[in-house]
């Protein structure tokens, strides 16, 4: 029912727990920023002015994206394992691709926004 070794399964389990802790912090920051930023309307200029060229925000979003790209696919793997009859190899392939997709889109957005601002 599984292809990974028990040690790998345990590491992945640990990775999901650690990424959950990171996400808990990131989501709070994210929501707080959104609530603060949305006061008095939201515009692309405003977002770029805040994030563009700012190294601190870049690091924050890179960490956020990395945590999502680790956490969500591992959860999806469990859901697919328990809820579908797909063979585990197929599931691992699917969630692997999903992880790469999330990471690629997320990092692209983070670097993209960073590149838009600054002087």
């Amino acid at each position: 029912m599984t292809t990974a070794s028990l040690r790998t399964e345990t590491y992945l389990w640990l990775a999901q727990r650690i990424s959950a802790i990171v996400l808990a912090v990131c989501v709070v920051v994210h929501l707080t920023t959104m609530i603060v930023a949305v006061q008095g309307g939201l515009s692309a200029q405003e977002i770029i002015a805040r994030i563009g060229g700012n190294k601190l925000w870049l690091v924050y979003y890179l960490v956020f994206v990395a945590a999502v790209a680790i956490h969500a696919p591992l959860g999806l793997k469990t859901v697919l394992r328990e809820m579908t009859a797909l063979p585990i190899k197929r599931i691992e392939l699917l969630v692997g691709l999903f992880a790469i997709g999330v990471a690629a889109l997320g990092f692209r957005a983070a670097f993209g926004l960073y590149g838009l601002g600054g002087s």
């Binding site: 599984t2 028990l6 399964e9 345990t10 590491y11 469990t78 394992r81 328990e82």
Partner: protein, 240 residues
Amino acid sequence: METDQLSVSIWRGGDGGAYQTYQVPRLESQTVLDVVTYIQREIDPSLSYRFACRVGVCGSCAMTVNGKARWTCRTHVSRVAENGALTLNPLRNLPVVKDLVVDMAVFFDKWEKAMGAFVGDKTRDQALAAVSPSDPKRKEASAGIECIGCGICYATCDVVDWNKDYLGPAAMNRSWTLINDERDVARIPRLQAIAGDNGCLGCHSQQGCVERCPKSLNPTGAIAGLKRHTMKAALKGELT
């Protein structure tokens, strides 16, 4: 609502069976097992069910009563009947042999898989190990040791339903008592046996097993302990 008759629907046959309904006189302090016994003795001798001790010791009388797994010898009809009716099914997650009897083989095979047997290295000529009752590990073991092997937790666990290789709460609860037994010498092989997604990491920690265990044990807590131990073992390179 108290009535003088109880309407009892029982699942008859195996997987392709059907419900059959019986009228049973309502008695004071009647247990669900009393009801089943009455039906078998007075109405339909072909009804199959399992029991032995009738006092909550042997763990053989578990059935699904109005949708929930229970030990029927210690379950009073007054606590579970809904509008004077009972619906009885065999335990979930186990193959049905006939009527209310399930095949418990898989359940106990998994105890073996989880290395549920004690492994010692002393002979009868050596002195007995002195284990203090106040030792924290002894306390952990004591908390889980009273399992009667009824299979109620196993029947309740959704992960067992979803993943046929999942070891289940009772087997891992047993492993946990042995991990905490300081006379046992098979810690690493046992952690290896219960590690991974088919073992302790598969548990969702939602405590259905805890809620239903008739002995008020805490298999979820035991599995959480196993998660901590396997995690440390993996980090130390003790797992493969």
